[in-house]
């Protein structure tokens, strides 16, 4: 990769100072601001608090990585922003602010089926899903599916929209886009399908792109290509990205800032270097050290996080991580920790890092 882009990444870092820090006024207004979001699923078996008091901001042109294990609420957070949560799921409280120039739109208050949300969804906030085979319609060509969105949002003529679709397929490095535009999804390989999904998501030039595990179903060499492509497109299109993944290696490669979620809550948020060099939360530390490291002798025991993720209908009292935490102290069993700033832009929800318990 050219050194120029690395220098560019470094140069934007200082601009971003204070954006994640809720206490200080941000220098640039975030595009997305989520405050105390709670999305619950009311089922006969009880209420699952899938997202439970999540707050974060996404700055313009930045990539926020959302990591955590299955059931931590990262996908439900994304679907809440897109207003795609289906019953029995419901946004209970909290706000999702989307900034368009001078306007601020409260997405959480919009009717998910209403005109305004439909004009934002796909046009201004677009989403890429994990499995391109199930999120593309098998009976329409990929061209038709991209054209549909462009015509819907811009009212373009068919010919204009088709030209734009071909241009987008070219931008995501699909070979022979003039021919591929008339292919059906099954005629494309997995990597090509995911590129077509990205082309569709970016065809309306959205301000925010939400990517939910976009490379998880792909082979490693194809995954590397798609990540490289997303990095390049972000530079060109100046979109903000929310990148959801369970793979710490992937997030290290693409995110500027990282949020670690556990059982519906944010346990740590920090710039990407801080989270990898100096994870503060015992859960983040556990996740990092459970990966097989190239520096660890082969065939030796990996360090593990003991136990499993608890039942979402019977969440532990106090800190939700306490039954698995190697550093648990009395207060963890009683009182939930709050997200506290430990250094610039680095916030962690752990009693060990709260000033009063230190």
């Amino acid at each position: 990769m050219p050194a120029g882009r690395l220098a560019g990444l470094g140069a934007t870092t200082h601009v971003h100072h204070g954006l994640l820090a809720m206490s200080s006024p941000p220098s640039i207004a975030p595009v997305i601001e989520v405050n105390d979001l709670r999305t619950y699923f009311h089922t006969p078996a009880g209420t699952a608090r899938a997202v439970d008091g999540v707050s974060f901001r996404v700055a313009p042109k930045r990539t926020l990585g959302l990591v955590g294990e299955s059931g931590c609420g990262k996908s439900v957070t994304a679907r809440s922003i897109m207003r795609l949560v289906r019953p029995p799921g419901r946004i209970e409280t909290g706000s999702i602010l989307y900034r368009r120039g001078e306007d601020t739109i409260e997405l959480a208050k919009l009717d998910p089926h209403g005109h305004e949300m439909r004009s934002i969804r796909g046009r201004e906030i677009a989403m890429i899903f994990q499995e391109p085979m199930t999120s593309l319609n098998p009976v329409f060509t990929i061209g038709d599916q991209i054209i549909e969105g462009i015509r819907l949002h811009f009212g373009s003529s068919y010919a204009e929209a088709r030209a734009r679709a071909i241009e987008m397929l070219d931008a995501v490095a699909i070979p022979a886009p003039h021919q591929r535009v008339d292919d059906y999804p099954h005629q494309l390989s997995g990597g090509m399908r995911q590129r077509a999904m990205i082309a569709m998501a970016l065809s309306c030039n959205p301000a925010v792109l939400i990517a939910d595990e976009p490379t998880t179903a792909l082979d490693v060499t194809i995954q590397a290509q798609v990540i490289e492509l997303m990095r390049e497109l972000q530079q060109e299109l100046s979109a903000s990205i929310i990148f959801i993944t369970h793979d710490l290696g992937v997030v290290a490669g693409i995110a500027d800032d990282v949020i670690v979620m556990y059982l519906g809550e944010v346990v740590e948020q920090a710039p990407v270097r801080d989270i990898f060099r100096d994870p503060k939360h015992p859960y983040s530390q556990g996740l990092m050290s459970s990966l097989p490291s190239p520096t660890q002798p082969r065939k030796t025991r990996l360090s593990v996080i003991e136990g499993g993720v608890p039942d979402p209908f019977a969440l532990p009292r106090g800190c939700r991580f306490h039954p698995r935490c190697p550093h648990v102290i009395d207060i963890c069993r009683e009182k939930a920790p709050t997200l506290t700033e430990v250094s610039a832009e680095h916030r962690v929800a752990c009693h060990l890092h709260e000033p009063e318990s230190a």
Binding site: M1, L6, L9, E69, S70, S189, G190, G191, M192, D219, V220, T221, I222, Q223, A224, Q225, I227, E228, H246, D247, L248, G249, V250, V251, A252, G253, A255, V272, R273, F276, R277, P279, S284, Q285, G286, L287, M288, S289, S290, L291, P292, S293, P294, T295, Q296, R298, K299, T300, R301, L302, S303, V304, I305, G308, V309
Partner: protein
């Protein structure tokens, strides 16, 4: 010395049928003339991307698919003639009775812990079933043996009365491992056993497999695509591409001195959990894995290979020795300077407190 398992020139072709009339449209050489061996107590990993034939190879070892040609020689103790320690049995040509006997010595762990356990059977029944089928010991001793097996994989004896749906993915994989261990096999084929699991659970299962190997002297054929995991648990690694072996070596040699361009590209594509290293990599591998129905001529890898020359387009490179216990199928193996896996992390700690 005779290897525990010796695979010679294994080939498996699948017919491809198309359309309403299921007309024969071609064939896929899922496994194309591959040979390798596995020693007692060692872990050999088969790695490669989807469609490379690693799963078909694993299934052929169990004869869950019938190979077209080649031999799969297993050093069987149960089928040894009187007075002998073992007999080499060709799994590819074994009779049904021989196969049943071999099931005691070779077992399998599947990828998906949700679909590989019968939802209508209790965990106790799942683990006891191989004991009953094989009439292993006295039936009255089975419950005690099931309890012992569950405990050895980190579950409790009381779990035997529960049903698979009551368990998480990691616990179900433990049940699958207990079932595989029930007959005290010497070789376990593990097909992507941890790829469906979350990171923290994956480490638990890998530790369990390492412990069991140490306690029982098990050999594993470990089929996986995650090179970080593979590097950690393997003694030797075989890299596959479009049905062929491209490189076989012991783990340290493969990572420290790869000789095949595909191995180099595969190692470079691994997402490393280090933000600084990730963004300063060489340009990745272009193109897609070609269709296996119509593989490229010569070396299958040549259209994606940055080093390819004319000879690569026409001639298939044989798998040849390239140093002690190191085999490579590349025309240019001796002239290329390839990047070893960047182990990194030597100067700065990048991991959390251990």
């Amino acid at each position: 010395m005779t290897s525990l398992l010796e695979v010679r020139n294994l080939t498996k072709t699948f017919d491809v049928r198309k359309g309403f009339a299921q007309r024969l449209a071609g064939s896929v050489r899922a496994v194309d003339d591959i040979s390798f061996s596995v020693e007692d107590g060692e872990t050999l990993s088969l790695v490669g991307e989807s469609g490379c034939g690693k799963t078909t190879t694993g299934r052929a070892l169990l004869r869950l698919v019938q190979p077209d040609s080649g031999q799969i020689l297993f050093k069987s103790q149960r089928l040894a003639p009187k007075g002998e320690a073992y007999r080499q049995v060709d799994i590819a040509a074994a009779t049904p009775a021989e196969l049943k006997a071999l099931r005691r010595e070779i077992q399998v762990i599947f990828q998906d812990p949700f679909s590989s356990l019968n939802p209508r059977m209790t965990v106790g029944e799942v683990v006891a079933e191989p004991l009953e089928v094989q009439e292993f010991g006295a039936r009255s001793e089975h419950p005690a043996r099931v309890a012992m097996l569950l405990e050895s994989v980190g579950l409790s004896a009381n779990d035997s009365k529960r049903y698979p749906h009551e368990f998480s993915g990691g616990q179900r994989q433990r049940i699958g491992i207990a079932r595989a261990l029930a007959l005290e096999p010497r070789l376990i084929v593990a097909d992507e056993p941890v790829s469906a699991l979350d990171a923290s659970i994956q480490a638990q299962i890998l530790n369990l497999m390492l412990d069991l190997q140490e306690q029982r002297g098990l050999a594993f054929v470990f089929i996986a695509h995650d090179l970080a995991v593979v590097r950690h648990i393997s003694d030797r690694i075989a890299v596959m591409y479009l049905g062929r072996l491209v490189e076989v070596a012991d783990t340290d040699t493969l990572f420290g001195n790869p000789r095949h361009p595909y191995t180099e590209a595969l190692m470079d594509a691994v997402p490393v959990p280090d933000p600084d290293r990730q963004r300063s990599k060489m340009p990745g591998l272009g193109g897609d894995v070609p269709s296996a129905t119509n593989p490229p001529s010569g070396c299958h890898f040549h259209p994606r290979c940055r080093y390819a020359e004319e000879v690569c387009k026409t001639d298939t490179p044989p798998l040849e020795s390239s140093g002690a216990d190191h085999f490579v199928a590349c025309h240019l193996a001796d002239s290329l300077e390839l990047q070893p896996f960047d182990s990194g992390g030597s100067s700065q700690p990048i991991r959390g407190r251990q």
